[in-house]
């Protein structure tokens, strides 16, 4: 049969091509590396077995998506090779049917792709059974895991991709069509994955590769048990996806079959009528035999000026050809438009729109090559594609022999391509700038800073773009085979983007890598620009060298063999080339040397592995001192000199240490700060340093005279910090020209062994021979309850000097401020003890002040509220003062007094939005001041709520400091949010509270596994910040807010800051138990002590009007309760719980739900049950647990519209 013959010929042809096997090798390597470099480590940390079905499925999905761009030439070649090699005049005229021709070629491409993708299971098997993976992270070998992944994920993906790529290539008659198709699928896969958590069902269908859904099972919504055991089967939306795309693929193939014509491309399609010239022969031409003018005698002039002229012309010509192609400017304009439209959605903090200040917009618009941000990945792919076109265009048109014989030097030929590509990139950046400006104008509320756009886009971002452009061009020139060139360039880009993951961290080793610059209005570029420039200069020198090499190897004829090209390159290596190379090499050595001096001599170059090794060594050497009795830090007195411009800080400190251990202490252990020099350590009695480990930061001083119980000791020290150039991560961002801040935790000595410096990850602990332990100490580990980092209560005083135009913020009352010798000094002292965590700030702030007076206390109980904010952003400071006042009001009433006389929010420069609540002074990231709650479509003021949350930390976390064990976050974060709810409710009304609750529920819409530890052992973000607060709120709705708050008040009173052992979530639970009536004890247990899920459904709801005008409502309810453990095992629990039932009147205009006609708790059992209620007015809707107090992830079926009953 003909189809068989065509299939066999194509299959054999491509099978014998080295590229086919190159693709196989690359995919194999990729699968291998993903397992060995990534999932094996996760498996060692105990997340899953390394050969769990989910790992196999995930690796398959990732490799499939990468294959889209790597192996696109297979389908493209099968579809378009005949036209491109001009063989179509033979094949098209052969007596073959279109079906056999297309079918044979398509099936061959599919078979070849399937063969290439067999590299995935091969790579997986190699990684798991040959690479030396330990047996204890391997589960039993299950062939079904490989088969399901290959036949349900890989093979369908291969078919859809082949069909799409083949169709595009066949219809465009260019193999490049296949590449563009592959790249588009690649981009779709990543984009859909990014938006998937919020996209719901359509997102799972939109991506033919099913990339996002597979990865989400891995990261979110499968429990550990499911990850290890569940096979990837064709079910649910995955099956729908497979069928949908099978249909679309077949439809596309049918369309291709109809549209494709076995005729010559020049005559086949859309030839504009009348455009075709009449053959020249038709015109009887006079033979100008010698009668015409003599041939022109003009000769060319040669020299540098001519070469520049040629450079300009060729660059412009190449640029213009690229720009006007469909994949040129039109595509870039569309991409810029998409980016512009994406700005509003991305310019948000916690879902709150930001004022579109230029620095934040630019942070979104830019990315370095080492950060694979979605649209920059597209840009990188396009750059590689453009480079291929520029290098190959002349050869593909057949013009190369004429052009190459022209007297144009190679450097002009190469440089003109680079300039053309550079020009395209400049246009792209201009489009991007327009997108940014348009987005800013559309959003409103911030001024567009054109100068900053220019600096950032055409100064900084352009360099990133040009470096990749040069790399891509050089690769294409050197490889000299278009598709392999694309592949090598892609691999090079992948290597750059994922170098850190592969363990190559030093930026001197990763092409184009540099520390990232930052620019915010508050701190400007700060010290980030200098290291950036050095690194980029270094890489630009490399790029120059690369350009020279590419010029030397520029192909100018038919000499494609390596030896011939080498010989030619040698011949081209003239004096000027040598000079340029020497300059490049000199710059590489010079800049590289300077960088190395900075990163490795001035700074300890510590890779991630070295950091781990250091932590491990610290534990191994010094953990023996964990329980050695140590004196307690009780007072801190500092003299700080900051020199922001010189980026230098000098600190003289004195600690007052008291022996309250009950035994005599003969030595003091000092944990010194990192990145600073600690000197002059002395005691007010003779002491000898018996151990000084500068590298690990541990010292032991033997006291000449032992310290008896209750005796005290004075420790003096000096700490010096001087920013030294830059490290591999860039310049230190602690001491800045404007916006300095540093903490005691990093710089100042701490007393005793510091468990927080230990290594936590299970895999790493094992690798360094440390005994296994959970990452966070168990709630039931009694010994661990004595420790919490930096939990001492101290009296604090400091005199701080800084530049005369800056303001210093430190904890306590500002006693005095003065100017001396051109510097400004501030004297701060606390009025009440604070926890041993404090920061110093120095910047040019604007200040917004407010006061709060305790209504039930005297006038001395006045608290000054100060917001130190970046000048120009007044709106949020006003909100913050109001919220802080309301918070102080509520918390002092509910939980106990606020011990300090100030409460401050201090801005810290940066792109973040978070806050950190140290005692008195709360650090607020610059982005927080840009949040614009007025524009929030949720009608919700997150700024006010977050401020209330941070103020609550002055109680939860600063007064009540929990032990560093599981569930600590329940005491700090959950209680802070729960407290903030009270503020919001009392001060801003229940509607505001409803919106806050709904904000806290948003996270539930993200699919996630139900497997978790009970709340009392909470360690993850979701439990601490979202589930915990709602559980506390639910309890307050059942037992009453006052009783819960009373329990919290007792908790605070019973655990004063210095008492040991430190409080845990069990203490909180005990207080809540005391406050909860017996009938609700089971609920308390279910909320906190078990990971409980309710499944509440209203099956039917009918109503009938009674004779007296009231309505009788009849409900059928179904209820179930489950407990899920941390592995994901689900256990049914008998239910006998009080659940709220609500009946609601019709909703008013603009409301979601009407006024409640009935709201009562009923005792609900497991299973189906019916209820009869009587309500005064006509009911519209009923809700089973309408306020969603119980944990039920599917709340839609809780509600039912009431049907009239006959």
């Amino acid at each position: 049969m003909k189809l068989q013959g065509i299939f066999a010929l194509e299959f054999r042809y491509q099978l014998h091509r080295p590229t086919t096997w190159l693709y196989f090798a690359v995919i194999l390597g990729l699968a291998f590396l993903i397992v060995v470099g990534n999932y094996a480590d996760d498996a060692r940390d105990g997340y899953f077995l390394v050969n769990a079905p989910i790992v196999i499925a995930t690796v398959a999905a990732i490799c499939c998506v990468k294959w889209l761009v790597i192996g696109a030439s297979v389908a493209g070649d099968a579809a378009a090779r005949d036209v491109q090699t001009r063989m179509h005049s033979l094949t098209y005229t052969a007596p073959t049917s279109k079906a056999a021709y297309l079918g044979g070629r398509l099936l061959a491409a599919f078979a070849l792709n399937a063969l290439i993708l067999l590299a995935i299971p091969a790579g997986l098997l190699l990684a798991m059974y040959v690479a030396g993976v330990e047996a204890d992270i391997l589960g039993p070998f299950r062939v079904a895991a490989y088969l399901t992944a290959f036949f349900f994920i890989v093979l369908p993906n291969a078919f859809y991709a082949t069909a799409i790529q083949f169709s595009l290539a066949a219809l465009s008659r260019r193999a490049m069509g296949s590449y563009l198709g592959g790249a588009a699928l690649f981009v779709v896969a990543y984009l859909v994955w990014q938006v998937l958590p919020n996209a719901g069902e359509w997102g799972k269908l939109a991506d033919p590769m099913s990339f996002g859904p597979v990865l989400n099972h891995m990261s979110n919504d499968w429990s550990p048990l499911e990850k290890n055991t569940r096979l990837f089967l064709l079910e649910g939306s995955f099956l729908t996806n497979r069928l949908l795309w099978l249909g679309i693929s077949l439809g596309l193939l049918a369309f291709t079959y109809v549209r494709f014509q076995l005729v010559l491309p020049e005559t086949g399609q859309k030839q504009k009528p009348g455009k075709r010239p009449t053959p020249a022969v038709a015109a009887p031409e006079r033979l100008n035999r010698g009668t015409g003018a003599a041939l022109p005698q003009v000769r060319g002039t040669y020299g540098f000026a001519t070469q520049l002229h040629q450079l300009r012309l060729i660059s412009w010509q190449a640029f213009w050809q690229l720009a006007k192609s469909r994949a040129g400017l039109p595509l870039l304009a569309v991409l810029a438009l998409v980016v512009g439209l994406a700005v509003p959605g991305n310019l948000k903090g916690r879902g709150v729109p930001l004022l579109p200040r230029t620095d934040f917009v630019l942070d979104f618009l830019t990315a370095s090559l080492t950060q694979p941000e979605p649209f920059w990945v597209i840009m990188a792919l396009l750059t590689i594609f453009y480079a291929g076109e520029l290098v190959w265009r002349e050869r593909e048109t057949g013009l190369s022999e004429i052009a190459n014989a022209a007297p144009v030097p190679e450097w002009v030929l190469f440089l003109s391509r680079f300039l053309a590509l550079g020009l395209v990139l400049v246009v792209w950046l201009a489009l991007l700038m327009m997108a940014g400006l348009a987005a800013q104008a559309g959003l409103g509320g911030a001024r567009a800073e054109l100068g900053l756009y220019g600096q950032v886009l055409f100064g900084l971002q352009l360099v990133e773009c040009l470096l990749l452009a040069l790399l891509a061009l050089a690769v294409h020139v050197l490889v000299n085979q278009k598709f392999v060139g694309h592949l090598v360039a892609l691999l090079a880009y992948g290597g750059i983007a994922f170098a850190a993951t592969l363990g190559i961290e030093h930026k001197l080793l990763v092409f184009s890598a540099s520390p990232r610059w930052t620019y915010t209005a508050m701190a400007g570029f700060g010290p980030t620009l200098a290291p950036w420039l050095w690194f980029k200069g270094y890489w630009a020198a490399w790029a120059l060298l690369l350009g020279v090499v590419a010029t030397l190897f520029w192909v100018r004829g038919r000499e494609a063999g390596f030896a011939a090209r080498l010989q030619l390159a040698r011949r081209r290596f003239t004096g000027s080339v040598a000079l340029v190379s020497a300059i490049a090499i000199g710059s590489i050595l010079g800049a590289g040397g300077f960088i190395f001096y900075n990163t490795n001599v001035l700074h300890d170059y510590t890779s991630a592995a070295a950091v781990k090794a250091r932590r491990a060594a610290y534990e191994q050497r010094f953990r023996q001192y964990l329980n050695v009795p140590q004196p307690l830090l009780t007072a801190v007195s500092l003299r700080v000199e900051m020199y922001p411009k010189q980026r230098r800080v000098a600190i003289q400190g004195a600690y007052l240490l008291v022996n309250n251990s009950g035994v005599t202490i003969d030595s003091v252990h000092l944990a010194t700060g990192v990145g600073v020099a600690t000197t002059g350590v002395s005691f007010n009695q003779p002491a000898k340093a018996v151990l000084v480990d500068e590298e690990l930061g541990h010292r032991i001083y033997a006291l000449a005279k032992p310290l008896h119980p209750s005796d005290s000791l004075r420790l003096s020290f000096q700490v010096r910090y001087q920013a030294q150039g830059f490290s591999n991560r860039g310049a230190d961002a602690q001491v800045l020209g404007n916006g300095t801040s540093f903490r005691n935790m990093e710089w100042l000595p701490a007393i005793g062994y510091q468990p927080y410096r230990e290594l936590d990850e299970a895999g790493a602990r094992k690798a360094y021979g440390l005994p296994p332990r959970p990452a966070t100490a168990s709630l039931y580990d009694v010994a661990a309850r004595r420790y919490a980092p930096f939990s001492e209560q101290i009296r604090f005083a400091a005199i701080v000097g800084t530049d005369v135009d800056q303001q210093v913020v430190a904890p306590g009352t500002l006693r005095r401020t003065w100017t001396q010798a051109g510097r400004r000094y501030f004297h701060y002292a606390t009025d009440a003890p604070i926890r041993n965590e404090y920061s110093f700030f120095s910047a040019n702030y604007a200040v917004r002040e407010g006061k709060w007076r305790n209504p039930s206390a005297g006038p001395e109980q006045e608290v000054a509220i100060q917001i130190f904010y970046p000048p120009g952003l007044l709106e949020n400071p006003t909100r913050m003062v109001r919220s802080a006042q309301a918070s102080l009001d509520y918390y002092t009433k509910q939980f106990g007094p606020y011990p300090h006389r100030q409460l401050r929010f201090v801005a810290h420069p940066g792109y973040d939005f978070g806050n950190h609540a140290a005692p008195i002074d709360i650090t607020t990231e610059e982005g927080f001041f840009l949040l614009n709650p007025k524009a929030d479509p949720r009608g919700f003021d997150l700024v006010t709520a977050v401020v209330a949350h941070e103020v609550a930390h002055q109680w939860w976390g600063n007064q009540l400091k929990p032990a560093d064990v599981e569930g600590a976050g329940l005491i700090t974060e959950s209680l802070a949010w729960y407290s903030a709810m009270g503020v919001v409710e009392d001060k801003y009304g229940s509607e505001h509270l409803r919106r806050l609750l709904s904000f806290l529920r948003e996270e539930n819409e993200t699919p996630r596994t139900r497997a978790a530890l009970p709340l009392l052992q909470a360690t993850d973000w979701y439990q601490m910040y979202r589930k915990g607060p709602r559980a506390l709120y639910a309890l307050s709705q059942y037992v009453g807010r006052d009783r819960v708050n009373g329990a919290l008040r007792n908790l605070l009173a019973n655990h004063r800051p210095t008492t040991l052992p430190r409080p845990t979530s069990l203490d909180l639970y005990r207080e809540l138990q005391t406050a909860t009536p017996d009938s609700l004890q089971p609920l308390l247990h279910d909320l906190f002590k078990a990971n409980t899920f309710w499944d509440l459904t209203t099956e039917t709801a009918t109503a009938q009007q009674l004779k007296d005008g009231a309505w009788q409502v009849s409900l059928t309810l179904r209820a179930n309760k489950l407990a899920v453990d941390s592995a994901g095992t689900e256990t049914k629990r008998p239910m006998k719980d009080w659940v709220e039932i609500g009946v609601f009147a019709p909703a008013e205009e603009g409301e979601q739900i009407g006024k409640p006609l009935y709201l009562q708790k009923h005792l609900i059992k497991s299973g189906k049950q019916t209820l009869l209620l009587t309500v005064p007015d006509k009911p519209a809707k009923v809700g089973f647990d309408p306020h969603q107090l119980l944990v039920d992830w599917n709340t839609i079926d809780n509600y039912k519209v009431v049907q009239p009953r006959n």
């Binding site: 031409e285 010698g290 001519t306 012309l313 060729i314 022999e401 004429i402 014989a405 004829g557 011939a564």
Partner: protein
């Protein structure tokens, strides 16, 4: 012939491709200014030699000189006086002849705008493309495209013009026009015309070489070569099936079908007898005699040896 100041000297040039084909085998030629024909069958090595002369390929061994320029080591200088029309070439289909010619004029170093305009205008007129200069090259016929190629090759008044099989796809009228154009080239330029069409050489070239399987079989002036064959070419009209027998007995150099019968031409210093009649030799006879090995440098040598014997 000696080393002419503007002539082309090729010395012991060899080239073997990676696939083992010996494209050029120790070739030496002296090419004086004027038209020079390089005649040979397809695959003889003509294009390899042409591309080597056009600086697009490197010989494995040997040297090539244009005047005193070393073609291998002074490529840039050679390109400045080179015009090259490859056997096959494409164009940017969306560019007009005028635009693309202007582009190439800059590549050829004509940077002065006025001069360039004058040059391109003259060349477009010369190649009869002036009326079609605004038309997109994608719509050009084969002959027009070929003439456009000539215009490009003639830019900058080259001292070395290499035209590789230029008449291959041309209709007779185009071909005539094309050859006329070539013949107008300056006397100081070396014009190398590679072709497998004997008439091209016969009509135009003052010197020629016949090349096959990478070797030069004959280096001669066409008229002299034809004259040397005088009295040695005989023809006979015969049946097709008599051909094998004739081939055994005689040096058959060509056999053409002529209205159902076969016209056989043989090479023979004496009258071969039985039905053969003498014919006036033409260049085609010289070509075929050379190809079949009865005429040319090697065969003359053999003959000399034969006389000794």
């Amino acid at each position: 012939m000696g080393n002419h100041p503007f002539g082309l000297t090729i010395r012991n040039v060899s080239k073997r491709y990676a696939n083992g084909v010996q494209a050029l085998n120790n070739i030496s030629l002296d090419i004086p200014p004027g038209m020079y024909g390089l005649l040979g069958p397809n695959g003889a090595g003509k294009s390899t030699l042409m591309r080597t002369l056009a600086t697009l390929q490197e010989p494995d061994e040997g040297q090539l000189f244009l005047g005193d320029l070393d073609v291998v080591n002074q490529k840039e200088a050679v390109r400045q006086t080179l015009g090259y029309l490859p056997q096959e070439f494409g164009v940017y289909p969306k560019a007009s002849a005028e635009e693309l010619l202007d582009y190439f004029a800059v590549l050829k170093g004509i940077t002065n705008r006025t001069l360039r305009r004058a040059t391109t205008e003259a060349l477009l007129k010369q190649t009869n493309l002036w009326d079609k200069r605004k038309q997109k090259l994608g719509g050009y016929s084969g002959g027009m495209r070929q003439r456009f190629g000539v215009a490009v090759a003639l830019l900058g008044n080259p001292r070395l013009l290499i035209v590789d099989e230029p008449t291959a796809g041309l209709d007779p009228a185009e071909r005539v026009r094309f050859l006329n154009l070539l013949s107008e080239l300056g006397e100081n330029s070396v014009v190398i015309l590679s072709t497998h069409i004997v008439e091209d050489v016969a009509e135009l070239c003052t010197n020629m070489a016949i090349i096959n399987k990478g070797q030069i079989l004959l280096e001669a002036q066409p008229l002299a070569a034809v004259a040397a064959l005088k009295g040695r070419i005989w023809r006979k009209l015969t049946d097709k099936n008599a051909l094998p027998a004739l081939e055994r007995e005689h040096q058959v150099i060509s056999a053409k079908l002529l209205s159902g019968r076969t016209m056989v031409r043989v090479y023979s210093p004496e009258r071969p007898g039985n039905g053969f009649e003498p014919v006036e030799p033409d260049l085609e006879d010289a070509y075929f005699s050379t190809m079949t090995g009865c005429f040319g440098q090697t065969s003359q040598q053999q003959k000399a040896e034969g006389i000794v014997l």
